[in-house]
C-alpha cells in the first residue's frame, strides 16, 4: 500500500510539476542558443574559407589563361604591336587548349566519353565493341537454365507429383 502511495505521489509530481520543470528547462535551453550562434559563426567562417579557395582556383585559372595567352602570342614573333582584334583572336585561341584539357580530364575521370569517330592527333581508338557475344551467351544460358528447370525436378517434388 505504501509502495502504491509512493508511486502515485511520484506520478503526480511528474505530471503536475511539468510546468515548473518546463520553466527550468526553458531557462537552461538558453545555452544551446549560444552554441547556435557559435555554429553560425563557424558556418560563416567555412563559407569564407570556401570563397577564399574559389578565389584561389580562379586565380590559378587566370594564371593558366595568361600563360597560354602569352604562349600563343610568343609563337607569332612577327607581330610587333598587337591590334585589339588580334588580341581577341589570341584570346579565342588561348581558350581552346583549356577546353581540350577539360576533355581529357573527362576522359580520364571515366565519365561517359563521346565516341571517337573522327581522326585527330591524340584521338582515342574507336569503340569497336558489340553486345552481340554477350547477348548470345546470355540467351544460351537462359535457354539452358530453362531446359534444366523443366527436365530435372527434385526427387521430393517428383514423389509428391506422383502421389
Amino acid at each position: 500500500m505504501r509502495t502504491w502511495l509512493g508511486r502515485g505521489t511520484f506520478a503526480a509530481i511528474v505530471v503536475f510539476g511539468a510546468a515548473t520543470a518546463e520553466a527550468q528547462i526553458t531557462t537552461v535551453i538558453e545555452t544551446p542558443k549560444r552554441t547556435t550562434v557559435a555554429a553560425q559563426q563557424a558556418a560563416a567562417r567555412r563559407e569564407e574559407v570556401a570563397q577564399d579557395s574559389i578565389a584561389r582556383i580562379t586565380m590559378t585559372g587566370m594564371k593558366e589563361w595568361v600563360d597560354s595567352a602569352a604562349a600563343s602570342l610568343a609563337i607569332r614573333p612577327d607581330t610587333g604591336t598587337v591590334p585589339a582584334s588580334d588580341t581577341a583572336a589570341a584570346t579565342r585561341r588561348s581558350t581552346q587548349p583549356a577546353t581540350q584539357r577539360s576533355d581529357s580530364a573527362t576522359a580520364t575521370s571515366g565519365r561517359s566519353p563521346v565516341k571517337a569517330t573522327e581522326f585527330r592527333d591524340g584521338a582515342r581508338a574507336p569503340d569497336t565493341g558489340t553486345p552481340v557475344p554477350t547477348l548470345a551467351f546470355l540467351g544460351a544460358v537462359m535457354v539452358l537454365a530453362g531446359a534444366l528447370l523443366r527436365r530435372r525436378p527434385t526427387p521430393a517434388a517428383a514423389r509428391r507429383s506422383r502421389r
Binding site: G122, T128, G129, G139, V143, R150
Partner: protein
C-alpha cells in the same frame, strides 16, 4: 500437401518456359544482328566490285576533272584490306560509326587513305571482321587496295592501350594503323584496344 507440390511444379514449369522463351528471343535478336551485318558486308563487297570495275573510268575522269576520285561518303567502300597469313580479306567502308562498322572495317574519317602520306586508321569489331587480329604478329604482311593504288605494308608494332588513352597520332610518313577492341575474347565492353602499326614496303598503281 499434394496441392502445394503441384503448385510448386507448376511455377517451376512457368519459370522454365519464361527462361526458354526469353533466352530464345535474345538468341534470335543476336542472330538477326549477325544476319544484318552479313547482308551489309555482302552489299559493301558487291559495291566494291562495281567500283573496281569502273576504276579505270573513275581514274580517267579524275585525271580530266582534277577531282579526287572515289566518293568518301560515309558507308561507301573506300579500300580493301588483305592479310594473307590470317586469311583476312575485307572491304573497308568510310566511317567508324556503329552502322558503318556493321558492313566491314571502317576507315576513320579525317585520317589518310591507305597509300597517302599520313596515318591511315582502319578499325573493326573484334568479334567480326578483325577477329583474326588476335593472331597477328610483328612482320606480318598487309595489302591494301584503294584508288591510291595497291600498297604492301609490314606490321612494325603492336600495342595494347587503355580504351580511353590517346592512341592515334598524325604521321608525316605513310603509316597504316589497325585498331580493334582488346581482349578479343571478352564478354562486355572491352577495357583495352589493340593498335597494330604497319609501315609501307612498296606501292604500285
Amino acid at each position: 500437401m499434394i496441392k502445394g507440390g503441384r503448385a510448386r511444379l507448376r511455377s517451376r514449369r512457368a519459370a522454365s518456359t519464361l527462361l526458354i522463351a526469353g533466352g530464345a528471343l535474345v538468341l534470335v535478336g543476336s542472330a538477326a544482328s549477325i544476319a544484318r551485318a552479313a547482308i551489309a558486308r555482302d552489299a559493301a563487297r558487291s559495291r566494291w566490285e562495281e567500283m573496281e570495275a569502273g576504276r579505270a573510268v573513275t581514274a580517267a575522269r579524275a585525271r580530266v576533272d582534277g577531282a579526287g576520285g572515289w566518293s568518301t561518303a560515309r558507308g561507301t567502300p573506300v579500300a580493301r584490306i588483305v592479310i594473307p597469313r590470317l586469311r583476312l580479306d575485307e572491304v573497308v567502308v568510310e566511317g567508324v560509326s556503329d552502322d558503318d562498322l556493321r558492313a566491314g572495317p571502317g576507315h576513320m574519317t579525317g585520317s589518310a587513305l591507305p597509300g597517302d602520306s599520313g596515318n591511315a586508321v582502319i578499325s573493326a569489331h573484334r568479334d567480326r571482321h578483325f577477329y583474326p587480329l588476335g593472331r597477328i604478329v610483328v612482320g606480318d604482311t598487309i595489302i591494301t587496295e584503294s584508288d591510291r593504288g595497291t600498297v604492301t605494308w609490314t606490321v612494325a608494332k603492336l600495342r595494347v592501350v587503355d580504351a580511353e588513352a590517346a592512341a592515334l597520332h598524325t604521321s608525316t610518313t605513310p603509316l597504316l594503323t589497325l585498331t580493334t577492341c582488346w581482349p578479343i575474347r571478352y564478354f562486355g565492353p572491352a577495357p583495352e584496344r589493340l593498335i597494330v602499326e604497319a609501315t609501307r614496303i612498296d606501292a604500285s598503281k
